[in-house]
Symmetry: C4
Subunit: 365 residues, 4 copies
Amino acid sequence: MNELLPKLSTVPEGIHSPSDYLPYAKERLPPEIWRYLEEGSANNVSLQANPHAFDSIHLIPRPLSDVRSGHTKITLFGQTLAHPVILAPLAYQQLYHPHGESASAMAASAQEGQSCVSSLASQTLEDIISAAGQPLWFQLYWQENRERTLKLLQRTIAAGYNAIIFTVDAPVKQATIQLPTTIQPINLDLPAPFPALLPQQSQVFNGWMAQAPRWEDLAWLRDQTSLPLLVKGILHSEDAEKVINLGCDGLVVSNHGGRVLDGTPASLACLPPIVSAISGRGKVLFDSGIRNGRDIYKAFALGADAVMVGRPYIWGLATAGALGVAHIIRLLRDELELTMALTGTASIQEITQEKIQISRNQNRN
Amino acid sequence: MNELLPKLSTVPEGIHSPSDYLPYAKERLPPEIWRYLEEGSANNVSLQANPHAFDSIHLIPRPLSDVRSGHTKITLFGQTLAHPVILAPLAYQQLYHPHGESASAMAASAQEGQSCVSSLASQTLEDIISAAGQPLWFQLYWQENRERTLKLLQRTIAAGYNAIIFTVDAPVKQATIQLPTTIQPINLDLPAPFPALLPQQSQVFNGWMAQAPRWEDLAWLRDQTSLPLLVKGILHSEDAEKVINLGCDGLVVSNHGGRVLDGTPASLACLPPIVSAISGRGKVLFDSGIRNGRDIYKAFALGADAVMVGRPYIWGLATAGALGVAHIIRLLRDELELTMALTGTASIQEITQEKIQISRNQNRN
Amino acid sequence: MNELLPKLSTVPEGIHSPSDYLPYAKERLPPEIWRYLEEGSANNVSLQANPHAFDSIHLIPRPLSDVRSGHTKITLFGQTLAHPVILAPLAYQQLYHPHGESASAMAASAQEGQSCVSSLASQTLEDIISAAGQPLWFQLYWQENRERTLKLLQRTIAAGYNAIIFTVDAPVKQATIQLPTTIQPINLDLPAPFPALLPQQSQVFNGWMAQAPRWEDLAWLRDQTSLPLLVKGILHSEDAEKVINLGCDGLVVSNHGGRVLDGTPASLACLPPIVSAISGRGKVLFDSGIRNGRDIYKAFALGADAVMVGRPYIWGLATAGALGVAHIIRLLRDELELTMALTGTASIQEITQEKIQISRNQNRN
Amino acid sequence: MNELLPKLSTVPEGIHSPSDYLPYAKERLPPEIWRYLEEGSANNVSLQANPHAFDSIHLIPRPLSDVRSGHTKITLFGQTLAHPVILAPLAYQQLYHPHGESASAMAASAQEGQSCVSSLASQTLEDIISAAGQPLWFQLYWQENRERTLKLLQRTIAAGYNAIIFTVDAPVKQATIQLPTTIQPINLDLPAPFPALLPQQSQVFNGWMAQAPRWEDLAWLRDQTSLPLLVKGILHSEDAEKVINLGCDGLVVSNHGGRVLDGTPASLACLPPIVSAISGRGKVLFDSGIRNGRDIYKAFALGADAVMVGRPYIWGLATAGALGVAHIIRLLRDELELTMALTGTASIQEITQEKIQISRNQNRN
């Protein structure tokens, strides 16, 4: 392992955009942790497709507009947020900084936004929410069966989490990093025993998928809580419809940052048909590929109700802890405000498809 | 020649996909043999087009589906195979490993699949089938005339081969490697004398093509055996129709791995019109460009009935003999199962065109 | 800072096109000034899109045409120019050469063309016009309010400037270079105090945009002068219409050389719809991306009435002062003449859309 | 100048295609001559577009076809050629080999084909035709006026040339190489004096274009000879029609190898509309971008009646003189025969558009 640089106690000079944090984070993380953070699955086709999808959306300046009353506020499930950037539920955040998930959640609160804590958090749910000083969202993974899942859900509710994001797109857990003994999924019970397989049986179909949730489990889960329930990892509009028809409050369009099934479309490409299928009957959040405030603007133009941001805030966490995360959020908000101002857009609601042009031919080199 | 590493007696660590074997194989083979394996023809336009064609096919995750009864079985010409991966008939396999074709065939049997032995095998047909312990398929090259071809066919049938794959797309044999004296097309008679040409005559038209099979020879061949007979090397749907109308049992869509005529379309691009032209009157196998289980899924989505895999299993053979080949097959099957599970697909028959999205604009960089 | 080469007193040998000046200029400028000149905003998507957009426009040679009477003259606001190349209003030109804006304006006059002086000129308006020996155009930035703006406008008119180019696409001033104390916006008063913001207020919306001009300010500005008034930084055809409907004499289609909002379309892509919307009711100038005479031809084929050229003439200025700028202009005119001759075009008016072919698929690599 | 390798007296080993000669030629030529041979104009957009255009045309193998009677013969203006490869009129061939144009012409004759001698040949017209031992084609440049042009034409006819290729796409002569004193346009008179220009006049319009031929000059030229007359450098179908309507025997679709006007379409892209406009009323030759026999096949599929090949035969000339040129021609013919055989095509006339597929999306990387 290389000699790592200490975390910074102030934000670095000369930062203009979240990606300016990238080299600082890379320097401060062991190579295997950096790889774990940045990797996609297989050939990285989907990983690379995510940011590239934004390049075919063009922004049209509208000078001389009156945007003096402009702001980035949104209201989501009764809570008013100063901006629409929600921290995505990344696992094991103590890998990146000793203050882990608490630092991220604290930063989100300080920036008057929201964060979503992973089932695979490396700190206790109670400690994180206490650090944040406000209710948070919880990302729920299915715990092999209903009993175990319900137990985790009830603990979450008791701890004061106020929305459940149920992630369904990663039923097979393949470790790609060896966790240090000090960093573990501290909020989970030991996993249930893996199904005993006959020689002819498949590890995938008869093993992992036997422990994966199904639509009837989602229906059951809906009945276990009156909190807002969103399903994360939806790319097909028929699935989006099913989620809403089962009484959920919304969903997160996501290809898991290109980390699960290589060859999915860019997450952004799946957003418009899902927005159209839902037509306002639930909230549609967008995740996977956002790297700056212009990307946020484009996701709203294609119909998102809020966005989740992942790797970029971890760059800030790895560099300067809570201070770095708060800075990343502020940079994203500043870039979003600037994009809105230059395009003559005074509120998130005004960011519509008419504000953009979609090109099929212009590629970044 | 550089110092070569010995073959492995166990499979390497850290392998997640067939392409992880590539550097091991490259290290273990002399450069001229590696080049012979990997080369395409001319400018490699078709060689490169093959894998790239898969990148424009997108997979759509369908979480929460019930795939607990999932499997990859197919039935082909009366034989049930545990998975649809058939080893393509690559020539002179002792170039890659001393155990040659026998090792590959043995591995295919152990994985409950099928392999196809080349006319240019470096071991006797009888030894290979004996190593395999089950009937195999035989790839037949035209032997300059009917008499010589019939002789080879009859020996094949006597040896217990149970399907004939007649390759028609490479009528001109241009050696691109100097075979060592110990590795020869051991199952073939010495070639018939090349036609004596007048000064004005063309080596291509009056030489090679005078020894090449024609449609009437295929009709004749069909009458010589009641075994399943498939024609390999078909890219045009009119030719596919002719093959079926002559009573053949199927065909293999293939551009010979980009090794014959540079500038053909990607093999995958030719699959849908041929499937449509045949509409179930024969089996359509797909060959050329498959590198992982997601590619197999995509070929089925475009209508294939089974797939042939070539270079990847040779990577395994060169690295670790039969063990390596078996591992490659298992990796392909695991990846196929995972792709099916994540897309909510419980059987090969369920892999239809509705499962994918075809994009004309997204390119891998 | 590296050791810089002195400016040349003659033009370099072996120059065939403006871009041949680029390495000379780069050698002669400190790296941070070179970066400031060449940079775009954020990821440079728009910066790179500008020149690439020209590559999809093809020129069709029309040999054997009679072009013996050919010329490149245009008439603009009553003035006849020998060619349609107008020097764009780049800021702080003493950064590049001690003779600054005066050298550029002098060169434009000597080449019987026109130049536009920036609000951010590093020499006095009076000195520049005196060096030029002819009336010039003035690029006006809004000076935070009407009173301050009017003061600058009146000084401009008094100095003898004969057209006003009002730039509206860069309301937020973010310094990306530290100016030396000897180089300052010498024609401007100290900026008005930045609005005092409440804790909840946004620097963008409540700060910068409160000091930015709005449509009603443009209407007011139109009433303050009878000089030709053009608005620079228009990319949307509705805005182009508004500009004309407010009585302005024209506009400049520009994305500010890719320096303001990253992700705008290429400037060239916005030209045709604006030309179509205006349909002759005002002049449409084109800016952003022109690097040679063929590009000028293409802009006219898409409907421009004149073109502005930016970075290329600064390469000449940095290399050889007024002599270099004059040479750049002459090179552009020569290339334009040659393109006209080879395409059978005897006048600027004959450069129509029928002269070109637009391809959506051919990219420069 | 670097130490040059001597020319070879036998052809190199291991050559499979004309481009295999490229490194040999590059080694044997001084860098400035290599640059002169290979260069395009300006940014090389058209130079690179020429070969890339072929990549979007796909060849479809048609195995099992009967092509035993196949051949590559064509008949052109009464002459039967063994193959359709005509050597393009490249200038100053003694730059590449001391045997110059004579070597090229001799090789073309030996291969039973045809070659076209440039107005800018470095050997006398009489010596070249004598070396060839058969009538050749002559490429005519306009000699500033009719009298001088007629004088050159009459000398050509007297020398026994049997077809005139009148090149019209390069009216401006800009030297890009300093010719050694021993290599000169030996067949031309000293150029006529360049027009004296007034200060206001344009070197392009009033100078070069005053000495360039016009349509009426072509009509006049047609009347001066009964030999076949073709116009070279036509890309627009209206011009192709005019050429035929003036009584010419055909034309050469060419963008001058990308050497004149940068930004023209690929020559291949202009072929189909011209073929369609002419519809058999004259011969359509194709030039610019052919590098192998598959390219020749594709040009015929798009309607060409014969092809001109340029730079590739110079690679052979520079490497091994007449022997090298003859080898290049033979390689092209062999590749063409192989392509015909594999696509089931027994004669040049059978190469039609149905033999190919045109793809807009598949690019070579």
